[in-house]
């Protein structure tokens, strides 16, 4: 019996070495442990013929051999499985750079609208209302209420589109008319921005458009100072450009603010060293702004002795041009999908 077991084991080990697939391993297992014909099963059946005094020793030996063979079978199975999986995985290698087919198209939001949406969101997060106003505006809101007198060049120049048969109407030349509209509708205190389309009767070229976009901002509260204006503008530009910016305020003149300023930003291209983008001055003119003129507050029904405020105008189209390096302003309204699909 002992010899039989040991030769069985020897035979098994020889065959195990040759088993190179899971199927062969399965077959080998059958030849050993198969219920009817298995070599080991057959031996086990002979246990009953073993002499009683040897039963214990042979039994133990049998157990040891069975466990050993079973373990070796399992180990080999695991090994073969790993190898087989490895082969499968290798043949299933793919081109990771290939996109899904057919290509799934999607549309594009106009770059101007994208930036307007982004700015509106930024301002909303700072507690500003986002307001609209008519694009065809009254002479009153566009000029008079903003303290732009009848004798002002803008009122008779070629800069403004007038409406035939309606001398009291114009295409708004700025988003500022909404300042007074907002004051009348919402009163003070007030925080609002007005993104929108404005019109100037200007010959169109690479850097001039008769139809373009602005974003007006207005803050009215008690005790608003120049220091507040600088602080808010600085925060704002940092928010828009997503980094700290250095700003400077210098005198500027706009009839609806007093005092009026031009807010310059340290050139982002050259960090102030001077380059073509900033005309070698190190500064870029960004935002005309100022403290709201008391006459404008009065036109808006707000008491200038109680409230004060500041207003600013962001050339949002110019901002988009800077952001993407767009050299020709006419692209925006060209409707050319080759341009629009880039955004």
């Amino acid at each position: 019996m002992k010899e039989q077991l040991s030769s069985l084991k020897k035979e098994f080990e020889a065959q195990l070495k040759h088993a190179s697939s899971l199927l062969q391993l399965e077959e080998l297992e059958q030849t050993i442990f198969g219920r009817k014909m298995g070599a080991f099963t057959t031996l086990a059946k002979q246990m009953k013929d073993v002499a009683n005094d040897q039963k214990k020793t042979i039994g133990e030996l049998m157990n040891t051999v069975r466990t050993k063979i079973a373990t070796e079978l399992e180990d080999k199975r695991a090994l073969l499985q790993r190898e087989e999986m490895k082969k499968i995985v290798e043949t299933e290698s793919i081109d990771v750079t290939q996109p899904q087919l057919p290509k799934e198209e999607h549309g594009h939001i106009h770059p101007m609208a994208q930036v307007e949406m982004e700015l509106s969101e930024l301002f909303r997060s700072m507690g500003f209302m986002v307001l609209d106003g008519p694009e065809l505006e009254s002479d009153y809101f566009n000029f008079e209420a903003l303290h732009i007198p009848l004798s002002h060049p803008a009122r008779d120049s070629q800069d403004t589109f007038f409406i035939k048969d309606h001398p009291e109407w114009v295409m708004r030349t700025h988003t500022s008319p909404v300042q007074v509209r907002a004051m009348r509708e919402h009163g003070a205190p007030l925080r609002a921005v007005v993104p929108g389309r404005v019109f100037r009767n200007e010959a169109t070229d690479g850097s001039h458009e008769h139809t373009f976009a602005q974003l007006e901002g207005l803050v009215i509260d008690t005790d608003i100072s120049i220091a507040d204006l600088i602080g808010v503008m600085k925060g704002l530009l940092s928010g828009i450009l997503k980094r700290d910016v250095e700003v400077r305020l210098r005198p500027g003149f706009f009839p609806f603010v007093e005092p009026g300023f031009e807010l310059d930003m340290r050139c982002q291209v050259c960090d102030g060293a001077g380059c073509g983008a900033c005309k070698h001055s190190g500064w870029v003119e960004m935002i005309p702004c100022g403290l709201v003129h008391p006459e404008v507050l009065i036109a808006g029904g707000i008491d200038p002795d109680v409230y004060s405020g500041f207003a600013f105008g962001l050339g949002s189209m110019r901002l988009v041009m800077q952001k993407y390096g767009i050299e020709d302003i006419r692209h925006f309204q060209s409707g050319d999908l080759r341009f629009l699909q880039q955004f």
């Binding site: 198209e105 999607h106 549309g107 939001i109 106009h110 609208a113 949406m117 509106s120 909303r124 507690g127 209302m129 986002v130 307001l131 609209d132 106003g133 008519p134 694009e135 065809l136 009254s138 009153y140 809101f141 209420a145 060049p153 008779d156 589109f161 409406i163 035939k164 309606h166 295409m171 007074v180 509209r181 919402h186 925080r191 389309r197 009767n201 010959a203 008769h210 139809t211 005790d223 608003i224 100072s225 120049i226 220091a227 507040d228 600088i230 808010v232 600085k234 400077r248 305020l249 210098r250 005198p251 003149f253 007093e258 005092p259 009026g260 003129h293 008391p294 309204q333 409707g335 999908l337």
Partner: protein, 818 residues
Amino acid sequence: MLVSKNWLSQFTTIPKKITPQQLGIDLTMHVVEVEDIIDEARFLDNVVVGKIVDVTKHDNADTLNVCKVDIGNETLQVVCGGSNVREGMFVAMGKLGASVRWHGEGEPIILTKAKIRGVESSGMICASEEIGLGEMFPKKYEKEILDLSHIVSTKDVGKPLAEALSLDDVVFDIDNKSMTHRPDLWGQYGMAREISAMYGTVLKPYEPKKIGKPAGASYTVSVQVKDTKACPRYMAVAIDDIEVTESPAWIKKRLMSVGVQPRNNVVDVTNLVMFELGQPLHAFDANQLTTNNKQLTIVVRKAKDGEVYTSLDDKEYKLTKEDLVIATKNNIVALAGVKGSITSGVSNDTTSIILESANFHPVTIRRTASRHGLRTDASARYEKSLDPNLCELALRRVVELLKEVSPKSFVSSTIVEQLNFTLDQGPIALDIDFVQRKMGVDLPAKDMVRILTSLGFGVKEKKNILSVTIPTWRATKDISIREDLVEEIARVYGYDNIVPTLPTFPIVPPKQNSLRDLETRLRELLAYEGRYTEVSNYSFVSPELLKKVGENVKEYLELENPIAKDRPYLRRHLRENLLETVERNLHRFDTVGIFEIGKVFKKELDGEGDGQTHLLPKQDTLLAMAYAAKGDEHPFSYVSTAFTTLMNRLGLQVHFEKKKEDHVLVHPGRTAAVLVNDVLVGHIGEVHPMTGEVLGLDARTAVLEVNLSELVPLLSEKTRYQTLSQYPSIERDIAFVIDTNAQHEEIATALINADLLTVDVALFDVFMGKNIPEGKKSMAYRITYRSDEKTLEGKDVDVVHEKIVAMLQKKFGAEIRA
């Protein structure tokens, strides 16, 4: 406007430590924007005065000469292409090492020894623009070299040009747009005042001698101002025994430094005073104005419509009754505040003059100047509302200078004058606390007083209130309220010295803007879930395009002054320009899906208030979508489906109601009204094949347009959740042949209403053509059956399915397919 450092220094002291660059920055930060700082001698290294001692033709080139140029210690041979080159001429000689700019443009080039067509050339005889003197000595001809013969003499030969011409000045180019509100800054003196305020230096008073009694009253001059509003002040005086000559060097130099060409002593003196003080003056040749008896009446009046004026430079202008003129009894002698006329100008033969120093109404002058396209240094100044008090000061200064440049001249009439003006000089009560609060700086009162005083304001302090008197030169329109004074104090103090603060605001969410929110949502859905790209078209539309799509231009608002003559109308729809955009893109793309969100203008409907008593035309915001794909014969459903999905995402229900419309734009069989939650909000349709051809559309195009302003009220936050059924559902397909006129929506509604167990109906196939009779179509639906009470068995569904078959046959005449 150009400002000269040397000229400024005549009136105030610029501290030594202030470099020109620093002065430029300080002016920008406190006063006006300096665009450029120009050092006169920046291109004059190695450029000396030379004298041409010999000119011979170049053997190998017709247009070139070989010159010998004496530069003192040596004589150089130079090849020169100047058209005006001649022997004996004094020239600007660029020696080897000089840097010049060709045609005054681009990067400088350093001169080296060269052979030009075989002849050696050691340097270059320069044109004015090549050495940065183009403004000072403008060229008359293309190939002209700078002729210094009338400026330098033999003793200057060999001297550095900068020294010979005393070019030690620095000139600041000020952006005129930054000083439109400051009439006082349009002369050197006003700028000097600002500098004295910035640096705390003394401003020398501008006090020319008073004009004495006429030495011999040979002229009798009187003035009649017919329009005192247009001419608040007019002063004139006659000067006799004038000798018209060249101006002395210092005057020429002053003028050239600010870009003005010297003419003769009389004209130069009037120009000098204008650039010094900002007050334009005019000198008439007295003999051209008066008759033998030397009597003259100057009339300041409006022109007659059609009256002709001939300018100094011999151009004719047809005037209107809005233009103000200076006239004698017979002639117009000047277009007031703009330019003199040809008949009355000062010439070399002039021996006596009438000097005019006047003030004109800014708007009158501006309109005349822009009407006739005649903008002059004078009109630019009058437009800014000049201080009428300057008239007298300027006149005194000119008379004083005339005596210097033409010593025998004498005042030969009394000063005639008409004046009719008042200036509001305040005082303004300025609360110290008000200034501090506006600035956000606790600036001491004494600093406010110092700043205001340095700018010429009169200040009295009384119990924390400053009583501020406005100087006349700031009182015409510039300064009138206390906020104006805050600006004066703050800008001189320096905005850079103000420490930024942040205002405190309560934390409250801002009010919603539902229309904007809707626009944002639509953009995102259409672009990122749909396949539509947003475009932005002009608000203006052309009559040709409107005509092509059958629009009546009479319904349109029109621009009075369209920039593009071809697009005068204000759009009532987005679709016309949108279709144009589709057309253009179809040349490059096979598929075009675009949308636009924008305002339209309807004059017959009332919109928002105009701020007074009337209403503006209605300006609703529309959404328009258009789709075309080459080979796609049914673009309609692409658009209608996208729109339905869009609305469903917003919790809204869409219904397309077919209509028979007789409009040139749309295909009569492929158009529908768009109803959202049963409200009519717009239209959808395929472009009529004929119109499509007229528009040049290369593919069938569907277009939808809805009014977002009307959609906003339909929006609500609710989108109800449906409880999940605990029983499984069963799906069955049904296919049938039916009239082509049958409408999907009607069939689907009938199916879903056929029984309680039909919970969903989906169209999955429509087919026409092969094996289907003419006028018929095959439709296939998948019906979902489910009960809320039990698990359905096949036989339960069979019963309902039978019912549905019967219903389809009866109601729609459908023929069920196997």
